[in-house]
Amino acid sequence: MTTHKTLILPGLLALCLLVFPACTPKYAVLLSTNEVIQDDIAIHSEWWYDLVLQYQMLDESGFRDDRIYVLYGDGTDFATSHAAYDSVALFGHTITDRPMTKAEIQQVFDTVNDRMRRRGYLYVWWMGHGSGSGAGLCDLTMHLSNTGETVTDDELRSYIDQVQRYRKRSVSVMTCHSGGLLDEFSAVGERNIVLASSSCLESSYDAPSTCNGILQAEFNYTDPNALRQKNPCGAVIASDTSGDGRVSLGETHAYNGGAMVRSTPQLEDPDGLAATTIPAKRRP
C-alpha cells in the first residue's frame, strides 16, 4: 500500500503538470520600449541585449516560452551580429510577440489576466527612458521611444492591475528616476515587490564593464546575473547568500546593491515577500 502511495502522488503531480499547465502558473511580461537598429551602440543596443538576457534568465528559471510575453520595437526581433544574443540561436525561435505600443501594453495584461490563476506569479520587467517630476522627482514618466508615447507610473500600475488573480507579483524596472515607481506599489497586503535601478533623483547608467564586452544597462546586467548565479560568460556569481541553491528577489537586491556602482538600486517590499520569492522555484 505504501508503495502504491509513493507512486500515485508523483504520478498525479506529473499528470497535473501535463494536463493542467495552470497548476504552477508563472507568467512574465517583458517590456523593452525602443527599437534597436545597430549593434554595439551605448544607450541604444541594450534595449535588445538586456531583453535577451532577461528572457534567458526566465527560460532557465522554468518560465515556459508561451508564458513569457515580449513587447519590443516594431514587433520583430533585432537581427544582432552577436550569436550570444541571437534569439533563434539561443532559444530556437524568435521571442518578440508584439510591437511596443501603449495599446499593446494594455492588451498584453488583459491576455495574461485571461490565463492567470489565483496561485500564479506575475513577473514584469520594464526597460526604457524615464523622466522624473513632482516632489523629489518621484513622479515617474516612462517613454516608449519608438512611438513617442509615454506611460506614467500610475498608468503602469493600472495596467498591471488588469491581472486580477495572482499570488505574488514583482516588477523590475530599469529607467532613470525609476525609484518613482515604488510608491505605486507600497500598500501592504497587495503582495507586490518592486526592484528599481535608481532612486527618484538619479539617472541610470550602463555597466562600467561586462564580462563579454557587450553593452548592458548596469541594473539589467547585475539583476539577471544574480538570479542565474552566473554571468553571461558562465562565471559564478555569489548571489545565493542563504546557501539554499536558489536566489530570491531579496538576495538579488542585495547583490545589486553591492555590485552596482553608478546608481542606487531600490527595493519596495511592503509585505516582506522578497526574501521568499524565488523566480526559479515552481511556485515563486
Binding site: 551602440i41 551605448a42 544607450i43 541604444h44 523622466s131 517630476s133 522627482l137 532613470c176 550602463d206 553593452l215
Partner: protein, 616 residues
C-alpha cells in the same frame, strides 16, 4: 599707401569647370617661366638652402651664381633672425642678396596680394621666387617649414605694365619643389590655381613676426596688387566618368601648354595609361600617368574627380602603377584568404605625414571585415586608416570643434583656449585665451563663435576675429532628465543645441540663443560627445565605451519627436580613443579625438560620390 589692385569677382565653381574644359585663346593669357636647374636638399631640413641654390642658378643674364649648399647653410645659421626656423626669411634674403639684387622679404595677409607681386616682378625682371608654402608638416612635406621655388606663373592678363592692371586671375604656377628630405628628388610641378591655393599656407609659427602671413622673397621690391584665385576647390560630389577625365587631361595639357616644358615632354609624345581614381569620397582625383614608348611612366596629370579641372601635373621617378586586381591578389595572399566573401579595393592618398604623395596612392583592400593597404611597390601594410583626411592639432586636450569651408576652430579643454587652426594642415593660426574654466562644446553661427564652459555652466559668444566676448547665457538643464556633464554645442541656423550626458537620461537640447531657455529636449539615445547640425539634420558623435568605436548618427529634425527617432541611422565609425567633438563645415563633417589630438574630416551620407568604383 596701398595700391588696391584687385581681381574681378571670383568665378563660380561651374564657371570654373566650363573654363577648364574650353581652352581659352592663347592671347587671353599671360605666362612667364624661367629656366632653373633643379637640386634637392643635401641634408635633412635643407629645403631652404636647396631652394636658394636653385634660385641663384635662375638669375637672369650672365650673373649665374652657384654656391654649394654647405656654404649657404653656414650663411643661414649665421644670419638667421628667428630661431624657430631652420631657414627663416631673413636668412634666405641674406643668402640671395649675396649674388646680387635686393631681395626684400615680402609678407602679406592674403595669397592674392602676394601672388600678384610674384607675377608682376617675376614677369618684369626674370628672377625666380623662393616662397614659404607652409610651416606645419603635411603629407607633401613633413618638415615643419617648407621652401619651394616659383619658376613660372600664368595669369589671364599681363600683370607687368605700368600702371598695373586692376585685376588679374591666377591660372597656374610652375614650381620646383626641392623635396622635404634627402631621400626625395626635386620635382617640377605645375599646379592649377585652386591646387596652388590649398598648397600655399600661411606661417603658423606663433612667435614669428610672419605669423598668419604668406611669405616670399622677391627681387625686386614690392608693389601692391592682387592675383586672386577664382572659385573654390570642389572636394566632393558625383565622380565624373573615366573617359571624361582623360578628355579633360588632354584639354588641360593643351590649354596650359604643359608639354612646352621639356620635363613634361611625355604629355605630348607619350600615351595616357588607365586613370586611377583616388579618394573617391572626398578630395577625389584621377591620377593619369603618361608613358612614352612603353616605358614606365615618369609624368602624370591629376584631374579633379568631380569637375574635370586640372589640379596639377608632376614628374617622378619612373614607376609602375599597380592595378586594383594586383593589389587585391597581394592582399588576399597576405591574409591567406583563398575564398573571400566581399572584397572592396580603393585607391587612397592619406593626408598624413609619411605618405609618398599624390602620385603614389595606396590601395586600400577590404576583405570582409579586414582592411590592409598595398603600396604601389607591392608592399602590404597590415594596418591602414579609414580616415582620408586627418589633421594633427597642437593642443593639449582637443575638445569642441566648429568650422566653415575656410576656417576651423577647436577648444583646448586643458588650457581653456579656443584655437583657430588651418583646415589645410591643422597648424594653429591663433589662440584666444578666453578665461574659460573648461571649454568643451563649440559652435559657429555665421558671425559669432559660441563656446560652452562646463565649469561656469554658461555659453559664451565671442568674435572669432578679435576674440572680444559677446553675449553670455546660463546653461539650462532639462530638470526632468537630469545632468551629468556638458559635452557638446551646435548651431542649427536659428538655435543652439547642447548635448548633456546623464546616462540613460542623456539629452540633446535646443536652446534659444536670446534667452538661454530650452525650447525642445530629446533623449540622446547614446552617450553624446559631439553634436552638429545643418538645420535639417542633427548629427551626434556617440561614445560606445572602450570596446567599441565611437559612432556618428544622423537624425532628421522633424517636428514630431517620434519622427526624429524613426529617422535615425548610424553611418560612421570613428578612430581614436576619446571622441570629443563634432562639426559641420557646410560640406563635410569633422570629428575630434582628444587622445590622438586629431581632427578628422568625413563625408555626410547625402554627399557621397555616386560613381562607386570599388571592386567587389
Amino acid at each position: 599707401m596701398r595700391h588696391p589692385i584687385q581681381l574681378a569677382l571670383p568665378l563660380a565653381a561651374v564657371a570654373g569647370l566650363v573654363a577648364a574644359l574650353i581652352p581659352l585663346p592663347a592671347a587671353a593669357e599671360w605666362d612667364h617661366s624661367i629656366f632653373v636647374t633643379p637640386s634637392g636638399p643635401e641634408a635633412t631640413t635643407w629645403c631652404g638652402p636647396a631652394t636658394a641654390q636653385m634660385a641663384m642658378t635662375g638669375y637672369p643674364g650672365e650673373t649665374d651664381c652657384t654656391v654649394p649648399q654647405t656654404d649657404i647653410w653656414a650663411d643661414v645659421v649665421a644670419h638667421r633672425v628667428e630661431a624657430s626656423w631652420d631657414t627663416d626669411p631673413a636668412a634666405m634674403r641674406w643668402v640671395l642678396e649675396d649674388c646680387g639684387g635686393h631681395w626684400p622679404v615680402i609678407s602679406r595677409d592674403t595669397r592674392e596680394e602676394l601672388m600678384f607681386l610674384v607675377a608682376r616682378w617675376m614677369g618684369q625682371f626674370n628672377y625666380p621666387v623662393p616662397i614659404v608654402v607652409g610651416t606645419a608638416a603635411t603629407a607633401e612635406h613633413d618638415h615643419d617649414e617648407h621652401w619651394v621655388l616659383i619658376t613660372g606663373i600664368r595669369t589671364d592678363v599681363d600683370p607687368t605694365p605700368y600702371p598695373p592692371p586692376a585685376t588679374v586671375n591666377l591660372i597656374g604656377v610652375w614650381l620646383l619643389d626641392p623635396g622635404a628630405t634627402v631621400a626625395i628628388d626635386p620635382v617640377i610641378l605645375y599646379k592649377n590655381a585652386l591646387q596652388w591655393e590649398s598648397f600655399l599656407q600661411p606661417v603658423t609659427k606663433p612667435a614669428s613676426a610672419y605669423a598668419g602671413k604668406f611669405v616670399a622673397v622677391i627681387e625686386p621690391p614690392q608693389v601692391l596688387g592682387r592675383a586672386l584665385i577664382p572659385g573654390d576647390l570642389v572636394l566632393s560630389g558625383p565622380v565624373i566618368p573615366l573617359e571624361r577625365a582623360l578628355a579633360a587631361a588632354r584639354q588641360a595639357i593643351e590649354r596650359h601648354r604643359l608639354a612646352e616644358n621639356e620635363a613634361f615632354r611625355a604629355l605630348a609624345e607619350g600615351q595616357p595609361l588607365t586613370p586611377l581614381l583616388v579618394n573617391r569620397e572626398q578630395g577625389g582625383y584621377y591620377l593619369i600617368p603618361y608613358s612614352e614608348q612603353g616605358r614606365q611612366p615618369a609624368t602624370a596629370v591629376l584631374i579633379n574627380a568631380y569637375t574635370g579641372e586640372l589640379l596639377e601635373a608632376g614628374t617622378f621617378q619612373p614607376a609602375r602603377f599597380l592595378t586594383a586586381e594586383e593589389a587585391r591578389e597581394l592582399a588576399l595572399r597576405h591574409l591567406g584568404r583563398e575564398k573571400p566573401g566581399k572584397v572592396a579595393v580603393e585607391a587612397v592618398y592619406l593626408n598624413e605625414a609619411g605618405q609618398r604623395g599624390m602620385y603614389s596612392p595606396t590601395w586600400k583592400v577590404k576583405v570582409d571585415d579586414q582592411v590592409v593597404g598595398v603600396t604601389q611597390t607591392g608592399t602590404v601594410l597590415p594596418r591602414i586608416t579609414d580616415e582620408i583626411y586627418a589633421l594633427a592639432v597642437r593642443s593639449k586636450r582637443l575638445a569642441g570643434i566648429a568650422g566653415t569651408r575656410d576656417r576651423l576652430w577647436t577648444t583646448d579643454a586643458s588650457t581653456g583656449e579656443v584655437l583657430e587652426v588651418l583646415p589645410a594642415s591643422g597648424a594653429v593660426l591663433r589662440r584666444f585665451p578666453l578665461d574659460l574654466g573648461r571649454p568643451k562644446g563649440l559652435a559657429f553661427d555665421g558671425s559669432r563663435l559660441w563656446v560652452a564652459d562646463e565649469q561656469a555652466m554658461r555659453i559664451q559668444a565671442f568674435d572669432p576675429d578679435t576674440g572680444q566676448p559677446g553675449r553670455s547665457i546660463a546653461l539650462e538643464v532639462p530638470r526632468e532628465k537630469g545632468y551629468g556633464s556638458l559635452e557638446a554645442l551646435a548651431w542649427d541656423g536659428r538655435y543652439l543645441w547642447t548635448a548633456i550626458a546623464a546616462g540613460y537620461s542623456s539629452s540633446l537640447n535646443q536652446i534659444d540663443p536670446q534667452t538661454g531657455q530650452i525650447v525642445r529636449s530629446l533623449f540622446a539615445d547614446c552617450d553624446p560627445r559631439g553634436l552638429a547640425s545643418d538645420g535639417e539634420r542633427l548629427w551626434t558623435l556617440c561614445y560606445n565605451g572602450r570596446n567599441h568605436p565611437a559612432t556618428v548618427d544622423e537624425r532628421l529634425l522633424a517636428p514630431e519627436d517620434r519622427e526624429v527617432v524613426k529617422s535615425r541611422r548610424f553611418f560612421k565609425k570613428t578612430e581614436g580613443g576619446i571622441p570629443s567633438g563634432l562639426a559641420f563645415d557646410g560640406e563635410f563633417l569633422w570629428y575630434t579625438d582628444a587622445q590622438s589630438n586629431r581632427a578628422v574630416r568625413f563625408v555626410t551620407p547625402g554627399r557621397r560620390g555616386s560613381n562607386d568604383s570599388s571592386d567587389e
